[in-house]
């Protein structure tokens, strides 16, 4: 039994252009091969131990600098299953035990840092929050669609961050009491409840990746940034004038109007933020503001 075959996708993989790369194996490839061969028995042992229950994952691989990985492909790993295992656990196991060059972002393992949004079995999900046992095997793990792939599962997040920053995501009222007086700005529990869901965003980028409009229109602010703006626009602590300024930003051509209510953002959001609802509410707010002639 082989534990890790490299399956090439697309089927007809071109051999590397660089003649030096052809034929001869780079030390890295050599090591990789040795390791894979070694892995078979090493792993077979482990498997016997774990009563043979393994999880089959297929992981997207790409690295612009390594000849063997320049052409994107999927690698197969068979990871011993444990109760409670998440997708993140599985890729971490694969990295630590099989191939240390397997690269992905992760940190908190508890769905608060937003680093590990992957495209798992055709849906944007947080690796650490997705139980392997809930998925059909083989589990296909890819980087987030609609973002440039830097390496393996790592995508370039800069565009996402730019959009998040574009909505002036910070409190703007300068006219607050002096903190030294220990006097807070009052806010009703209802108002706080209103912004509660919107304030849960962990910047994972899953929503943006799932939205076809964001894919087509690079200038579209995207659901996460609009939701961020929603949090501020709906917060009563900021003055009306600032709220109006916020709506101005949102009602630009590439703002809320671009949303075609596809709902996929809402469906994939790991924090269950009702994104579409927030976007729609802002559209209505903007219209209302524009209809005010008095």
């Amino acid at each position: 039994m082989s534990t890790q075959q490299q399956q090439q996708e697309p089927e007809s993989q071109e051999s590397p252009q660089d003649p030096e790369m052809k034929g001869t194996e780079s030390p890295q490839q050599e090591r990789l091969r040795e390791k894979q061969e070694g892995m078979v028995d090493d792993h077979a042992e482990k498997e016997a131990e774990a009563e043979g229950e393994t999880v089959h994952i297929k992981v997207f691989r790409y690295d612009p600098e390594v000849a063997a990985k320049q052409e994107p492909r999927f690698d197969d790993f068979h990871v011993p299953f444990e109760k409670g295992m998440t997708v993140l656990d599985a890729v971490m196991y694969a990295r630590d035990e099989f191939d240390s060059s397997l690269t992905f972002r992760h940190s908190c393992r508890q769905a608060v840092c937003g680093s590990d949004a992957f495209f798992v079995n055709g849906k944007q999900r947080l690796g650490c929050k997705t139980q392997i046992s809930d998925l059909e095997q083989p589990v296909r793990i890819e980087p987030l669609p609609h973002q440039e792939v830097v390496k393996d599962l790592v995508v370039d997040m800069d565009h996402f961050y730019d959009q998040m920053h574009a909505v002036e995501p910070y409190f703007q009222d300068e006219d607050t009491p002096d903190p030294a007086d220990l006097e807070e700005q009052r806010q009703s529990p209802e108002n706080r409840e209103k912004i509660k869901m919107s304030s849960r965003c962990i910047w994972c980028g899953a929503c943006m990746s799932s939205c076809n409009i964001a894919a087509g229109d690079n200038k579209y602010l995207g659901p996460a940034a609009i939701n961020k703006a929603y949090k501020f626009a709906m917060d009563d602590r900021e003055s009306e004038a600032i709220k109006e300024h916020r709506l101005r930003i949102l009602e630009q051509e590439h703002g809320v109007w671009r949303c075609q209510t596809q709902f996929s953002c809402t469906e994939v959001c790991p924090k269950d933020i009702p994104l579409t609802e927030h976007i729609q509410e802002l559209k209505r707010e903007a219209v209302k503001k524009n209809l005010k002639f008095w």
Binding site: K123, P145, N212, T261, F263
Partner: protein
């Protein structure tokens, strides 16, 4: 960064199997909208024969042999036109029903039921279309 990899359009269309309800609704709505506006242009073009009819011979109008009447009736005699009309109906009905769904969404009503309301639009469209087939196909010569 040295280089990065863009997986391009396959992203969108290679993954159609994984699309969710809202995405299909979007695609269908787009498609039906384009069909409708396309139809509107042809429709007006066909109806433009009325100009010829109006400026033509009044007796022909009486005899129902004016260009307008003959064109329309001539078209209606074609089986293919009838089938296309059923298609148009389906397209229009879906666009209307889903349009209503979208209007509700815009008003923030029933957002949790957005996928179910999409399926409902589809089923209703099917039902209405099937139900109206006899009316549309009646009297066409086979």
């Amino acid at each position: 960064m040295s280089q990065s990899y863009n997986r391009g359009l396959i992203e969108d269309f290679g993954r159609w199997k994984e699309f969710s309800a809202g995405m299909w609704a979007w695609i269908f709505h787009k498609f039906t909208g384009w069909m409708l506006i396309g139809y509107l242009f042809t429709h007006i073009a066909v109806l433009s024969t009325a100009i010829g009819a109006a400026s033509g011979d009044a007796s022909m109008i009486q005899a129902e042999t004016d260009v307008y009447t003959t064109t329309i009736q001539g078209l209606e005699e074609l089986f293919i036109v009838r089938v296309l009309e059923v298609g148009l109906l389906a397209v229009a009905v879906f666009h209307i029903l889903n349009g209503l769904r979208l209007l509700m969404v815009d008003l923030g009503i029933g957002l949790e039921a957005q996928d179910r309301s999409f399926y409902a639009s589809l089923i209703l469209t099917g039902a209405i279309t099937v139900a109206s087939v006899p009316t549309f196909l009646s009297g066409v010569g086979f």
